[in-house]
């Protein structure tokens, strides 16, 4: 019985390991998982937004930063986490705006 338990435990751990490794392959996959499992955590949305911005998805990044600002007002978010997230999200939203303006202006 204990042998069966150990084999089952090893197999379960191997499956979980194989499933979790690909999450660490990129910033986008890492913070997508974090935001999925902690949707009320502003830091996860800020970091997902940054990852999306760096990978060229400004529209999705903007949505993530907006979501971070929305969840930052949750009562269980600690005051310093709220301030950090608000500051980071607003700063990155400005970056998104600037990038859009730069894209809109044609090169001479």
């Amino acid at each position: 019985m204990t042998r069966v338990f150990f084999v089952a435990w090893v197999l379960a751990q191997l499956f979980a390991t194989a499933a979790q490794i690909p999450v660490w392959r990129s910033e986008v996959s890492l913070w997508t998982q974090a935001a999925q499992h902690a949707p009320e955590k502003p830091r996860a949305w800020v970091n997902l937004g940054r990852a999306l911005l760096l990978s060229g998805h400004a529209d999705y990044a903007e949505q993530s930063f907006s979501r971070a600002i929305a969840v930052a007002s949750s009562p269980h978010v600690r005051p310093f986490d709220r301030e950090d997230a608000m500051r980071a999200a607003q700063s990155n939203l400005e970056t998104v705006t600037v990038l859009r303006l730069v894209k809109a202006v044609p090169l001479p």
Binding site: T2, V10, L14, T17, W24, R25, S26, A38, K41
Partner: protein
Amino acid sequence: MTRRWSVVALAVVVLAYLPHVVVGAWVYEDAGVVWRATSALDIRQARWPLNLISQAQWSLAPAPAVFHAVSLALHILTALFVGLFAHRLGLGAAGARLAFVAMLVPALSVEAVAYAAQQGEILGAACVILACVLALGRWWPASIVALGSGLWVQESAVAGLLLVPWTLAIFPKKSAQWLLVPCATAIGFGLWRYGGLSALVNIGEDVGVTVTWLDWWLVQSTAAARALGLLLIPIGPFTVDYDYDSVPMTVRWLAAGAWLCLPIAAVCLSRWRHRRSQVIALGLGGLFLSVLPRLIVQTPRSYLNEGQAYLMLPWFAMVMAALMRKTTP
């Protein structure tokens, strides 16, 4: 557990990590790794050996692949040390293989192995386990070197100053009792260097970034209990940034209470003269002591994460090997 199945488990783990080693990118705080690897070496910095190790890897190839491969190799090496530890504790060759596999496969190790910035955690854990192994043998003075090396590369290796004495408390070795002196001296020196216990405990705090000791104990106990739960049943969720702030206070108190049962169970089991009970006692106490420093030293911006829980794995592996031991011939 036959040698063949241990090799199969090792091969599966290596194959699982291979794609990540090849194509995994820098993530999250890996910028710190790149900075360490490309900055001029300054031996006045506290953790300069870790910088040196990073620079050696960078010189092989300035890419995450090298760091990921080295982390995987270090994880396998740590698992070998755990197997050796189990053998030295009297679990035999089969018990050693059980402990090796139980250390190798947990999904909780993925953050430490797949994330270059956590390489120090694996190094620190390897040094701590090596120190415990050496403490039980003829070369016990070398345990000081192993422990010192661990402390030099990773601050979480400070748990080794508790784990080596704990190992000697459960499996006394008369000549090695002298190791208690350098361990106690190092703890005393650390307290003096950081300005006392209060200053050390609040070292991670800042203006507007504070937490009470009780709140910190409760949330970190919850994180440690979650890590132990993931070791037992890897259903998850596994995540780089778990939302402990949304965990209800009732659950935190329950987790803290459950976590305190570990040392109590360890002390009770250690009274039995039976070898298996003593190894289980060692493992349960080791689980508690491996993260005790993080339950005391407050870093409000950062809770115990899966990578930092890496040092729990060897002690869990000991418990598993001792529990499963009777299944082996």
